[in-house]
């Protein structure tokens, strides 16, 4: 009896332990970005983000001018230690454990004295977010010691573009799909089965198939780079799944509600607006979250249909561009990436239940 109990405790320990280990591994990358986004440009470039944890570090305690009459080509004595120029360049540790470093070249230099100490309080800043959101300027020290002023990055425009793209690109396909789902589920018309087979067949077709021809159409219609173009594209690519999911849901609604509404003389349109839409809210919400996350996080469709228009650029494009062109500006990139994740994470955590339900409906069937 006792051994069974301890065995249970052991297996509990193994289960919880390995689960928490996996969770830890899964969380570290995101945590790293979050922490990095609050670190200064210099810190990001020179030390890992985990250095915000307490650790021992060389801390500069003094900076001295080079004493007069020192000959850098011979053996020198500084702060009580002696050595050659090369040795000082590397850093010499004195008997107290302090490190004395010659910083600079032979003629123009300072002496830095540092000590290894525990660092508990990390240097954190909100500057990165300021630069990313308000486009503030910032100063950087180049290797030659000059100070350069560089424009920050204005993400607000891209953020607004992302919203302008995502909200209609979520609602429009849902509206169109809901009408179609109702039509397929409750109306009789010639070609009904054939058209629905088309919807099912298109469920798995990769959207790559459409990019070249649709771009050709857009160029001809002068639609490229407009919001309408990208809404329609997302509508087209999202419609098969939306129609299919909503069809399954609407078909499952009790038939008697509809029949009694018909007897009362309501038209299809009235039934749809007054009855079906309110009853379908859970399914609509599930798909809405799905589609919103998909559109917000999309890069390929935006790249192809917005591509050349910088003022319509969405967040993912902005960030991808920064990864490419401003690889050195990691401090802006971290804050920018986090800004782009903010809205999806809020949507995700507040509506997780609906999201999961939508995913279950989508996969168990499709």
């Amino acid at each position: 009896m006792k051994s069974a109990k301890s065995q249970k405790r052991l297996s509990d320990f193994i289960i919880n332990g390995s689960l928490l280990l996996l969770v830890f591994i899964w969380t570290i990358p995101t945590l790293g970005l979050l922490i990095s986004s609050f670190r200064t440009r210099f810190d990001i470039q020179t030390s890992g983000w985990w250095k915000v944890l307490p650790h021992r570090e060389w801390v500069q305690i003094e900076e001295l001018e080079i004493p007069e009459g020192l000959d850098p080509d011979g053996i020198m004595t500084i702060e009580g230690v002696t050595g050659t120029f090369e040795e000082f360049r590397e850093g010499i540790t004195d008997p107290d454990g302090r490190q004395i470093i010659w910083s600079g070249n032979k003629r123009l230099a300072t002496i830095r004295i540092s000590d290894e100490r525990w660092v508990f309080l990390p240097k954190l800043t909100l500057e990165n977010y300021g630069q990313v959101l308000a486009g503030k300027t910032y100063e950087i020290k180049t290797s030659s010691g000059d100070i350069m002023t560089v424009e920050g990055d204005n993400f607000v425009g891209a953020f607004l573009n992302s919203i302008t793209v995502s909200i209609p690109a979520t609602i429009i396909p849902i509206l169109i799909a809901a009408f179609a789902a109702y039509g397929f589920a409750w109306m009789k018309f010639p070609g009904r089965k054939l058209l629905f087979i088309m919807v099912v067949a298109l469920l798995v077709i990769p959207l790559q198939i459409a990019l070249v021809p649709i771009l050709k159409d857009y160029v001809r219609l002068d639609l490229n780079g407009t919001f309408l173009a990208i809404w329609l594209a997302h509508t087209g690519f999202g419609l098969p799944l939306a129609t299919y999911l909503l069809f399954n849901y609407i078909k499952g609604l009790p038939r008697d509600i509809l029949e009694s509404a018909f007897i009362d003389g309501a038209s299809h349109f009235t039934i749809f607006v007054r009855l079906i839409i309110p009853l379908s809210v859970p399914a609509l919400a599930s798909f809405a979250i799905f589609q919103f996350l998909w559109v917000w996080n999309d890069y390929l469709v935006a790249l192809v249909f917005i591509g050349a228009k910088p003022d319509v650029q969405v967040l993912t494009m902005r960030i991808a561009e920064m990864v490419g062109s401003r690889g050195a500006d990691w401090h802006l990139l971290t804050a920018g990436a986090f800004v782009s994740m903010l809205l999806p994470l809020v949507v995700f955590f507040s509506l997780q239940r609906f999201f999961i339900r939508g995913m279950l409906a989508g996969s168990v069937k499709g």
Binding site: T27, T164, Q208, L360
Partner: protein, 372 residues
Amino acid sequence: MAEVTQSKSSIKTVIEWFGTTLGQIIVAVVVPVITGYVMVKGFIFLRDGEAPKYVIALVAIIWGVGGVALIYYITNWLIEKLPAKWMAKLQPFLFVGPAVAILSWYMAIPTVRTLVTSLYDRTGEVFVGLDNYIAVFSERIMTVAFRNNLLWIVFGATLSVIFGLLVAVLADRSRFEKFAKSLIFLPMAISFVGAGVIWNFIYEVKDAASPQIGLLNAIWVGLGGQPQAWTAMNQPWNNLFLIIIVIWLQTGYAMVIFSAAIKGIPGELLEAARVDGATEVQVFFRIMIPYIMGTIITVATTVVIFTLKIFDVVWVMTGGQFATHVIATQFYRQAFTNQNKGLASAIAIILVICVIPVMIYNLRQFADEEAF
């Protein structure tokens, strides 16, 4: 007082006039024309307008969403004015028509158009037969892409499913179920581009003399290794470091579906097996796995299709350099960088051919349901 009565009666005559057939026809023409005019004006304002960004955003959202709703509403209003026989015939097409039109324009017809384009050369003028397909299967850049996609599917899809199953089973028996599932699921909300930035902080490499700011290299150097450029060296295994990113993103999806399936296994079934002396490992392999096999196949299919189309991660992390191109990045490169629409179309068609078995399976399922 008299004036009010008079104006009231004149309103009445106006309304009565709209009740006549002629009035109805005029209204039926005027309303759509006004709507169309407003829609076009809105479009031009959005395209060329110089208003501040947030005004444009607001107008665009109202114009886009409201416009679609309005089109449905007005068309229905017109249809309901028709005789009942006509109305019954036309109304289904109002409901289904827009969806069918958009699906045709964006998915069905492009499939045919792409198929045709794939038989022409890069300019789209000279018919070349199957030359593009021959090029796709013989050129080295393409065979590398196919090999990489295979790696993506073998490692990426498989490990996503395995980790998803593992987490689902562990979480099911843990006190931290909700907490663990939320955090593993969280990457699903992050874009591939964002994930690329995140993983740069894991894979970043600095030369051996400076401190490493990438976590993986910091650990590696701490263990006595030389700093590695993980996503560039040791081809083709550098692909695995890109694949890890997608495993990280997809595991949450697999986990959620598996978690629901596991909860659907009857408790008595598991209890009976345990009473008969089955070990936990046996319960897992002999009962749980067979019971949720259907779900495993669905999840695996979804993940494989998804992995087949992988684009963003590769494009952002390496741009296809260091032998990391996959089918979708080659498609993009051929279509938009090299402007070789013929070859790009052939690649897209090959992607479609890859998913045809799944499509046939879906259609069979649909035919079997027969409830239609």
